[in-house]
Amino acid sequence: MNRDRINKILNRIPTHAIIIFMILVWVVPTFGLLITSLRPPQEINTSGWWTVLSPPRGSGEYNEYCASCHGDDGSAIPEADLTDPALIAQYPRSLQLLIALREEINGQPHMQDIPIPESQAAADIATYLRRISELDAPPRFTFSNYIDALVGYRGTSTYLKDCEAGTAPLDIHCNTSDILNPRGMGRAFVNSLLVTIPATFLPILFAAFAGYAFAWLDFKGRFLLFAILVGLQVVPLQMTLVPISRLYAQLGLNGTFLGVWLFHTGFGMPYAIYLMRNFLGSLPRDLFESAYLDGASHWTAFYRLVIPLAMPAIASLGIFQFLWVWNDLLVALVFLGGTTPVMTYQISNMVTSLGAGWQLLTASAFLSMLLPMIVFFGLQRYFVRGMLAGAVKG
């Protein structure tokens, strides 16, 4: 009995190991992104995000070379108080520090019988000295990357510091209007919302109409039309971009929200109708028959019966279309571009042409994932249901 149980547990170990390994591969990169977005820029570029909780850079070297005389906190020798910013300011880098360490003090070598550190160790000690003297003591975690990303700050310091010092770049005004700076993620977030909401609502509305007709109304060519629609589901976006952007150029719709709404609506249609028709078609026939006996017209049946009953399908479809439009890059790139940048465009632009630092990229990427993550974890049930109902989407 007992042996059986132990055997059973042992047999399960490989299963657990594989699952946990895969979970780690899925979670760790995302987690690293989150941690990195919360670290100060100078820390991001000098140490991996997994060292975030380890002692600050140079502390080990400090303890090895300096702590025996200067004390653990650096203030043991009053004439050479290492916590004094004015003193440390003279030794910003390993070069100046090494010269000082090689000098003699009162006829004795500075380091006495301790060997002089290598230049890398000296550089780390210099960094550590700046930290304990509070000359430059970056915090472990900071929200400043998020602020910089939201307002589109591209300088070498941070938005808050620059505004305090009055050295902000020209496009930064240091007031609430910065949140709508066209280079920032704040503006892009608003644009993404303005694109996504109508581009989610319109296809659902049109698909509810058409799905109802396909499921419960009779007309000639119904089956053929629906079969064509199934085929259209897999037509790639790329196939239609060129004519539409040429047409939009003539109509003046390039760079407008209306253009993108309509494009997403058109492209979301085949899948949305397919889902709607299959869902509505599975509703019991008696329902419609009794509605008819009660004297309901097709229109009454549609908005009193079909719309309320179709809510689960509408929820699935809504989540799908929302995520699809929110995460889309190609359509935004072609039809909106830099005139009304959405979040995906803004990030891809940072990578491909601006070469922005990791602090901005990670914070921006996380900002763009926030809403989809909330939607996803909140409404996963509907999302999965919609996916299982029909898996293909242009």
Partner: protein
Amino acid sequence: MAKRSVPNIMKQGRLAPWLYLLPALLVMSFFIVYPMVNTIALSFSNKNGTASAATTCVEGKPCWGIFENYHYALTAEMDTSSLPAFWSSFWRSSYGNTLKWIVLMVSGTVGLGLMFAVLADRVKYEALAKSIIFMPMAVSFVGAGIIWKFVYDYGTQQVQIGLLNSIITSFGGKPIAFLTVPQLNTVALIVVGVWIWTGFCMTILSAALKAVPDEVIEAARVDGAKEWTIFWKIMVPIIMPTITVVITTMVINVLKLFDIVYVMTGGNFGTDVIANRMYTEMYINFNVGRGTAVAVVLVIAIIPFIYFNIRRFLAQEEMR
């Protein structure tokens, strides 16, 4: 469905159904059907779509006349001087890369997805595990691109802030520039694709596996079949239709895939794929004829799947 009694229950005129269909049909014909026809027409035209493609032929070079854009689309990346040269240039071209994407990404997502679906079925934390694997589906390709660009980061100095290179150097290895070394970089990008899409395959396959009747599996166990045998001889054959659907869906997704390549390498360093090349020809080089010709090549690759999709639909309707 055609044979089934027609669900003409509502009082309706001849016109009413078409009124319900009107908005959908309008946007679809305007945004899908018309542009498809127009794209095909434009693919036979010159740079601005003003004259025939035959006018772009260069004197003294091979020319395909009106098919000149297809000549360009199919052969510009190839070295046709000798067979070995052609072979190696093919594997560096956007077509060769797309083929690598299809083979590696489809086998990766379907294989891992199936494995995870089977294994997760046996543990208590199934729901949590599955939603973690599924999570990248909610994130944009752009976001996933950033996540992995950071994992692949290659530091020229001593410190490696990219997770992978840090692991490599901690074992004494030399850091690798994952995104610029030819061949390896395409694989690195495909890993990102697998990371995103495995959850999709896993969810659909998992639903299919749960529908396999327990009695069948129990009966096999009673007969002394090993778990491995049960998986290959019973489960896989039963869910084969679903596996086929997932595979075709994935092939279509891969063919259309653009964002990952665009964000992570921009198609440079020999990572170009068909979908990105179409974008480059059209919106970087501003060549309407060539851009649309690449798009048509893409659609020709997808046509078998359109056919397959309709066939599957017809079969489903028979069952209803």
